[in-house]
């Protein structure tokens, strides 16, 4: 029981990373029907920008205002920086190939991914980098038999706040309904006066920014980052997106959380070495029986 609960908490922590990254995949896919392979590298680059901020920039700020300021500054700067990178990548790599269709955009996305990954390698070097230790007090909360670290509490809280905020923007505001309308039917949405380019701008700032913040949190949680880690996290997050039903934002969030929990439970009860196999098997089984994902809507086939 204790193991189960602790693995659940660990799973939710990792799952919230996947969920934050998955939101970016899902938004881009919803509007453009494009699998944005560069998204995992937005995440990595965000992690590295956060690293640079924490190592070089914020020692003074931390000494002055306490550890929280340092972390917040790292998160905000990396989110803003990556939002900018997201827009640049969209302008230079994706926009010129939209008209040509879906498959050229996939190659373009892979090209952008290679470009970003190697940019990171050129700037920060090919070796692993370590996040500074003791960014926040190493406190533990004890609930009966299970314990949870302060860092996990912060990560969970922050992720859930971010997800709730995004959900509110997309579901409750007028601009959010414009985004949803575009995802549903781009041409009709354009006829209703929705500016397609502004919707694109929106998804390519928010998606990468969420990914970047997940990157900083991963850095703080595992303390070790590498320039190739985006592939692994990107693949998992993309899996989460599909698991939840692609293009469906709550689906992406729950898909991410479920994936994280499954991974940790698989590691605890089956075998740590086979946990990823377990995750992919679950994914394949879900898709065999529910071909549009757990929360995906059934779409009638157009003839």
């Amino acid at each position: 029981m204790q193991l189960l609960l602790e693995q659940l908490i660990n799973g939710l922590t990792i799952g919230s990373f996947y969920a934050l990254i998955a939101l970016g995949y899902s938004m881009v896919y919803g509007v453009l029907k494009l699998i944005n392979f560069a998204h995992g590298d937005f995440f990595t680059m965000g992690s590295y920008i956060g690293y640079t901020m924490l190592v070089f920039g914020i020692a003074a700020a931390t000494a002055q205002f306490g550890p929280w300021t340092g972390m917040m500054v790292a998160l905000v700067v990396s989110a803003l920086g990556i939002a900018l990178v997201g827009i640049l990548v969209e302008r230079s790599a994706y926009r010129p190939v939209y008209r040509a269709g879906r498959l050229p955009a996939v190659v373009s996305a892979l090209g952008a991914s290679i470009f970003l990954q190697n940019t990171i390698m050129v700037i920060w070097g090919p070796r692993y980098q370590a996040y500074p230790a003791e960014l926040i007090p190493a406190m533990r909360f004890q609930f009966g038999q299970i314990s949870i670290t302060l860092l996990q509490v912060i990560i969970l809280a922050l992720s859930f706040i971010l997800m709730a905020a995004l959900y509110t923007i997309v579901q409750k505001t007028a601009f959010g309904s414009a985004v949803r309308a575009t995802a549903h039917d781009r041409n009709t949405a354009a006829l209703m006066g929705i500016n397609f380019n502004r919707v694109i701008l929106f998804i390519f700032t928010l998606g990468p920014a969420l990914g970047a913040m997940a990157g900083v949190m991963v850095g703080m949680y595992y303390r070790q980052i590498s320039f190739t880690m985006g592939w692994n996290y990107g693949l998992k997050a993309f899996t989460a997106t599909i698991l939840g039903g692609i293009g469906n934002l709550p689906g992406a969030m729950f898909g991410g959380l479920i994936l994280g929990v499954l991974e940790m439970l698989g590691a605890a009860y089956i075998s740590a070495a086979w946990k990823d196999v377990f995750v992919f098997l679950i994914l394949i089984l879900v898709l065999i029986f529910r071909p549009t994902g757990l929360f995906g809507e059934k779409t009638a086939e157009k003839v």
Binding site: Y29, L32, K33, L34, I35, F37, S92, A93, P96, V97, Y98, R99, A100, G101, R102, L103, P104, A105, V106, V107, S108, L110, G111, A112, S113, I114, F115, L116, Q117, N118, T119, M121, V122, P126, D185, R186, N187, W231, L235, F238, T239, I242, I246, A273, W274, D276, V277, F280, L281, L283, I284, L287, I288, P291, T292, G293, T299, E301, K302, V303
Partner: protein, 334 residues
């Protein structure tokens, strides 16, 4: 340009000027006599990527199924060769058909339950399948695959006891002979009933089903043939490197194959060769640029898609071409 009155090989010349295959074959034959071993090895890997591109082209180019786990089939071929050769000393060339059959059978078994999935859902399932293969190889099931280190000591292919393929130039001719045979086979396949059924499914699956094409059967056939050819590539690769390890069969490798087909032009055999040349030769030619070469590589991929979105050498075929796949990104549940 002929009129292509007779079926089969002569059809090739309706879309490709006759001198292109002739010149290319001549170049392939003459090249190793003027190149150093290093450049022959580069051309060998060009051949391996050409085989892989051709094999994925069956699934992605001819039928339009998104397969991003093709490295899994490649791995099955390579590991079957390596394990059977090192444990039971079965000759490499005898294992060539065995690898193809094993990869094909594997494709049949894993694709049967998932073949009804569409577009991106099929894509993620094949990614998952490829990753499961790689992770399983790392975890060393039944002590067969040697874990992360892989299997060592794969033999040279022997044509006869005295005729052993062990130098760069011999490997080069082996792989390009296989590429040549595969191309001949694929061209006649393209112009057969099977090829037309595949293209029909790619252009409009529902209409294909309505005209009596057994969609499920033909999709599976494409996966099995594609996997079999990838298995052949795995066999040659394993004996050339003399060892196999899981890191040769990552998701990245599947992405490269995907790019080969799309950069060259879907369903186009000359296109696949150009795509394979780009993927295998570019990083070697730009080696002096060291850590910047992959930056350039990524940007060139993007620019290529801006300039020639249909691929470098798209397949020309009548009026209909890739309608469903190249349509506007706006709506549609393709």
């Amino acid at each position: 340009m002929g009129n292509g009155k007779s079926a089969g090989l002569s059809k090739l010349f309706t879309t490709t000027p006759w001198y292109v295959p002739v010149l290319f074959s001549a170049l392939v034959v003459i090249y190793p006599f003027f190149a150093t071993d290093y450049f022959i090895d580069i051309a060998f890997f060009f051949g391996i990527y050409a085989l892989l591109g051709l094999s994925l082209n069956i699934v992605l180019g001819e039928v339009g199924l998104f397969d991003l786990g093709h490295a899994g089939f490649y791995a099955i071929g390579a590991y079957v060769t390596a394990i059977l050769n090192t444990r039971y000393q079965i000759p490499i060339l005898a294992l060539l058909p065995v690898s193809a059959l094993a990869a094909g059978l594997f494709a049949y078994l894993v694709c049967s339950p998932i073949i009804h999935l569409k577009g991106d859902y099929l894509c993620i399932v094949t990614i998952g399948m490829g990753e499961i293969v790689r992770l399983a190889l790392i975890n060393n099931p039944f002590d067969l695959t040697g874990g992360p280190n892989g299997v060592f000591g794969v033999d040279f292919p022997k044509l006869s006891p005295n005729l052993v393929i062990d130098s760069s130039i011999e490997y080069y001719f082996l792989v390009w002979a296989v590429v040549g045979l595969s191309i001949l086979g694929l061209i006649s396949l393209q112009h057969s009933r099977i090829g037309r059924a595949w293209n029909c499914i790619r252009e409009d699956t529902v209409a294909a089903g309505a005209t009596g094409i057994n969609v499920r059967h033909y999709k599976l056939l494409a996966f099995v043939l594609g996997a079999g050819l990838a298995g052949v590539a795995g066999n040659i690769y394993a004996s050339k490197l003399m060892c196999v390890s899981p890191e040769s069969f990552t998701f990245w490798e599947s992405c490269l194959m995907f790019c080969i087909v799309l950069i060259g032009g879907m369903g186009s055999i000359p296109g696949v060769l150009i795509g394979a040349a780009f993927i295998s030769l570019f990083p070697e030619i730009f080696r002096p640029f060291a850590m910047y070469r992959m930056l350039v590589f990524g940007s060139v991929m993007i620019v290529m898609m801006m300039v020639r979105p249909g691929g470098f050498w798209p397949r020309k075929r009548g009026g209909v071409a890739f309608r469903s796949l190249l349509e506007d990104t706006g709506n549609g549940n393709a």
